[in-house]
């Protein structure tokens, strides 16, 4: 086995700035793929922006915004096959859209309606994980298990910079290294965990530097460069399928929106820095790249946006058209084989609600 090297210091990039930094191209991505990637990005962006509006309108509950993180979600998932599994955090709540999940499903989740809870096997997508970093061992266990099954399925898990401080990250990464699990640990380093900046989160020079402690190669990419994320993930997928084990990818971005709809970042964030980030956000960068390449025109961009908006309109309608959830669902699905008192509880509750 070759010695694992310390993580790279520099951020990998593909997309230039149209000026001093030149654009690169990624092997294997033709115009069709680039446009598909663009549609994916716009779908996520539209979902995110509309969700904030729906929240304001009282149509969904608290919502965790992922504006400017679409590149990392769309880029990494684009490098997977459909049979590969994704283990998201709450920040990636809509990542299922990239796997054909209906918009209404994701909206239902944020509406606290049972229609928002899917069968992971339908999309090879684990449930939204709310407690920080705890999905990481799941992804590792799944990948390890697939390897034991002699499948070449790969697992991708996404988590934040703050997540790297949790014991669950550490133990998951340790298992990943030891079991040579075909898993990709994709850290969305958006430099904030709610109000906590990275400097208070860790004294590590970079998050990718943590990888060596698990015997895992660590790479750093510009997380707002969808092609750089794609490329790094694709390399990691190849490694994983070849039986060479996990990869840790630190995708560096910046949280240019509130943590969630309930958050007021003016209490802690530098508005100047946010402004800069918003101007240079990830989809605009890709759009300009595509235009420089001549792959995308204004009209086409407008059509993509219109299509996404239409999907959202239909999605929120469908979500709102879900019949009210049946209270007896409280008692369902917790056990395959429920302890008898639960059935009595259900009957009692239904009697009381019937009476009331």
């Amino acid at each position: 086995m070759s010695r694992v090297l310390p993580a790279e210091g520099d951020l990998r990039r593909v997309i230039g700035d149209g000026d001093a930094i030149p654009d690169r191209e990624v092997e294997g991505l033709g115009a069709d793929e680039l446009l598909q990637l663009y549609r994916n990005l716009v779908l996520l962006r539209t979902y995110d922006e509309r969700s904030v509006v729906y929240h304001r309108q009282g149509r969904i509950g608290t919502y965790a915004i992922f504006w400017n993180h679409e590149a990392m979600q769309a880029g990494s998932v684009f490098a997977l096959d459909d049979r590969d599994w994704i283990f998201p955090a709450y920040r990636e709540s809509a990542i299922g859209l990239l796997r054909g999940m209906p918009v209404s499903t994701v909206l239902s989740w944020w509406r606290g309606h049972p229609a928002g809870w899917w069968n992971p096997k339908d999309y090879n997508l684990a449930s939204i994980c709310v407690p920080i970093a705890t999905q990481i061992p799941h992804a590792v266990g799944f990948a390890w298990g697939s390897r034991l099954n002699r499948e070449d399925t790969v697992a991708l898990t996404l988590f934040g910079d703050g997540a790297t401080s949790e014991g669950a990250f550490h133990e998951g990464a340790t298992f990943a290294g030891v079991m040579k699990a075909p898993v990709i640990l994709l850290c969305n380093n958006n430099q904030w965990a709610i109000s906590t900046p990275l400097s208070k989160q860790t004294a590590a020079p970079t998050l990718a530097d943590k990888a060596i402690g698990y015997g895992i190669p660590g790479v750093r990419v510009d997380g707002c460069d969808v092609l750089a994320v794609y490329e790094a993930t694709r390399d990691a997928v190849l490694r994983a399928r070849a039986g060479d084990g996990p990869t840790f990818i630190e995708a560096v971005s910046y949280r240019a929106a509130p943590h969630a709809t309930a958050d007021d970042p003016s209490l802690y964030i530098d508005p100047q820095r946010v402004e800069e980030q918003r101007e240079n956000e990830c989809i605009g960068r890709f759009e300009r790249y595509l235009k420089r390449l001549g792959v995308l025109g204004d009209e086409q961009a407008a059509a993509v946006k219109a299509e996404a908006l239409e999907l959202m309109r239909a999605g929120i309608s469908a979500a709102e058209a879900e019949p009210p959830a049946d209270p007896s669902l409280v008692f369902e699905h917790a056990y395959a084989d429920p302890p008898p008192p639960l059935l009595a509880d259900r009957d009692e509750l239904l009697r009381i609600l019937g009476d009331a």
């Binding site: 709310v130 989160q201 049946d326 209270p327 409280v330 609600l353």
Partner: protein
């Protein structure tokens, strides 16, 4: 006396206790610059400095584990867990160290740390923002547990917890952080641990409850006012438990409903029922009925009201006890 919301009363207690005792410090996720996601720690970092109100890494076991060491260095840490269900990573430190370390030194060192957190449901939140984890805490030797239901008690019990020489977990009913303002004594205000409060006097039946369930019980008692005279006993602290108050009330009424938000099996209502089954068996004129959360994961919020013990469920339980 100023009128304060429950979360403001928590904040007031922290101000007063940090002012009073220089060894009190706050640690937790987002407690500093932001002042906490519920703003319970707002203003503390500005007033007392970043070294006494510390934004920590996102690591609950690290927070509670380092707090043990901080105690050994003479500090009196108050740890915030951001939400109930995010306190579980710290259970290992809590059970194996926080509750045992004093004993391990044969009483020669104190571990006066406080762990406080918002708890409970009804707030239309995503998954795992709704747990009532008191059983995990109260079952742990060496650890005390308090759960206020009113702003004044939120201040007074937290102050008592901070001053207590033993580790105390304080669960704050987040549903009521901002529901009602109430007079809260200014300055130092301590509600001793282990003293229950009669929230409503009555003669026919005792509702035993704590935290958010006090409000449900009071509403149920009011609903039933024409039918039956219910006493509402707000336990305030689960360990130490005010057995005297509990037994006195039941000796008077002979009938009991216990209301708890947590899942039923081995919840604190079981403990209350067990104390009564042992120490008040001959006072009881009917079954001790528990109205609790169910032994299932806390549900999607659109149907959470069906899960949470509600006024109708408590009323129904009371009628069943009376009919028995």
């Amino acid at each position: 006396m100023p009128e304060l919301l429950l979360v403001e009363a928590v904040n007031d207690a922290l101000h007063v206790e940090m002012q009073r005792d220089e060894s009190v410090m706050i640690l937790g996720e987002d407690v500093g610059t932001l002042g906490g996601v519920f703003r319970a720690t707002a203003g503390l970092q500005e007033r007392f400095g970043a070294h006494r109100c510390v934004d920590t890494p996102l690591a609950e076991a690290g927070i509670v584990g380092t707090a043990v060491g901080l105690c050994m260095a003479g500090w009196r840490p108050v740890c915030e867990m951001q939400y109930d269900a995010f306190s579980y990573p710290a259970l290992d430190q809590l059970i194996n160290h926080v509750g045992r370390y004093r004993w391990r030194t044969r009483g020669r060192m104190s571990f006066p740390l406080t762990i406080r957190m918002p708890y409970g449901g009804g707030v239309r939140a995503p998954e795992l923002h709704d747990d009532s984890p008191e059983t995990y805490y109260v079952h742990t030797p060496g650890v005390k547990v308090a759960i206020p239901s009113t702003p004044a008690d939120a201040k007074g019990l937290l102050a008592a917890a901070i001053r207590d020489p033993d580790p105390v977990v304080v669960l704050e009913p987040k549903l009521h952080y901002r529901t009602t303002k109430e007079d809260v004594p200014e300055g130092e205000h301590v509600v001793p641990l282990g003293k229950a409060r009669i929230a409503r006097e009555g003669s026919d039946l005792t509702m035993v409850c704590y935290g958010a369930m006090v409000h449900v019980s009071l509403a149920a008692a009011e609903t039933l006012a024409d039918e039956v005279s219910c006493e509402v006993l707000d336990l305030r602290s689960l360990k130490p438990l005010d057995e005297d108050a509990l037994l006195a009330s039941v000796a008077k009424t002979g009938r009991v409903v216990v209301v708890q938000e947590a899942p039923r099996v081995c919840g604190f209502a079981a403990e209350v029922a067990a104390v009564l089954a042992e120490k008040a068996i001959f006072d009881l004129h009917g079954p001790v009925v528990r109205v609790t959360g169910y032994d299932v994961p806390y549900p999607y919020w659109q149907i959470e009201d069906a899960y949470m013990p509600s006024v109708v469920r408590v009323v129904d339980a009371v009628r069943r006890v009376l009919a028995a």
